[in-house]
């Protein structure tokens, strides 16, 4: 039982390792693993990017998804605007953000005027609720509510 491992030992080892490999070849399916992973991935994706508001006592980071949600609510409160999808991009991590609004208008509303009011409402809402600056708001009127 002394001395280095010989060929016979290694051959036996291979056989034993093959058994061990077969034993672990098909572990029971991971119950809920994929779901748990995707819950965390979805949360990460939603809060992937942040607009940062520096302050004397520390920085406040606001997820762009949060800005988009409140921007959408602000748009829907504008008379003549039916609904909107909003994409938010921070400029160099903030505090300035760029907003892109895909707007659905009610019929009969003059569109340039509506776009101006939507822009003003968004600048005000973003400033009041997040402290961030909407440096630019592009409005795409892409549909009419019928």
């Amino acid at each position: 039982m002394t001395g280095p491992a010989g060929d016979r030992d290694l051959a036996e080892l291979d056989a034993a390792l093959r058994e061990l490999a077969a034993e672990t070849a098909q572990p029971a399916p991971p119950a809920g693993l994929g779901r748990r992973v995707m819950e965390r991935v979805d949360a990460l994706a939603a809060h992937d990017r942040w607009a940062v508001l520096p302050g004397p006592g520390g920085a406040t980071a606001v997820a762009v998804g949060v800005v988009a949600v409140l921007a959408r609510r602000a748009v829907r409160a504008v008379p003549g605007a039916a609904d909107a999808a909003v994409v938010v991009r921070p400029v160099d991590d903030g505090p300035a953000v760029l907003l892109e609004v895909a707007l659905t208008a009610h019929p009969g509303v003059p569109l340039p005027d509506l776009a101006r009011r939507v822009r003003a409402a968004l600048v005000a809402a973003v400033a009041a609720q997040t402290g961030l600056t909407a440096a630019r708001v592009d409005v795409h009127v892409q549909d009419i509510a019928v």
Partner: protein
């Protein structure tokens, strides 16, 4: 539902994304599509779990590590250059997650969760073989992590030396050395059970 002239299985494959190759899904996921990443997770989670289980020898730890590895993969996607196969890259991430886990927690009791329970009569040979397998499993677990990872990739996962070396990001001679040392250590252990 199959449309006219579209075979039902082809239709199903289109709906669940089976016809899409990893490269296509990886590009979609890198562009921010969680749906594309979800298909990759569904496709690769069994292998990730199996590797984690083989590296750690403990089911609960393996599930934790598999989850961490897959979430890490999402975070690291922007740095995945596509010069390795997605599967190889996932193996690397899983091994790194397992290494971190092994470094954090050192089990003080033998982990016996995965042992098959014999149901039929046991001859002396069988008892001996079972004891030997148990000892080998423990010996594999007691190897230093880098040796264990090298051994698991080559001898359990069936990777070639070159691919295993790429997976662990070490030169091939280093990888071969680790496998050889691991095998010698295990063979010494087995001799006690002859």
């Amino acid at each position: 539902m199959a449309q006219d002239g579209v075979p039902a299985d082809l239709d199903a494959a289109f709906r669940d994304g089976r016809h899409l190759d990893d490269g296509y899904l990886v590009r979609g996921a890198r562009d921010g599509s969680t749906a594309a990443f979800g298909l990759l997770v569904a496709r690769h989670q069994d292998q990730v779990l199996r590797l984690a289980l083989r590296l750690l020898g403990d089911r609960a730890a393996a599930e934790d590590v598999a989850q961490e590895a897959l979430v890490s993969a999402w975070r690291a996607l922007p740095s995945f250059r596509g010069d390795a196969a997605f599967g190889t890259w996932l193996h690397r991430i899983t091994t790194n997650a397992a290494r971190q886990h092994a470094g954090r927690r050192r089990p003080t009791v033998p982990l016996t969760g995965e042992e098959p329970v014999p149901t039929h009569e046991q001859t002396e040979d069988r008892v001996l073989a079972a004891a030997r397998t148990r000892a080998l499993r423990a010996a594999v677990r007691d190897l230093p992590f880098d040796q264990r990872a090298a051994l698991v990739l080559v001898q359990f996962e069936g990777l070639g030396y070159a691919e295993a070396a790429r997976t662990l990001e070490v030169p091939e001679p280093t990888l071969r050395g680790r496998v050889a040392r691991a095998r010698r250590a295990l063979a010494e252990q087995l001799r006690g059970w002859r």
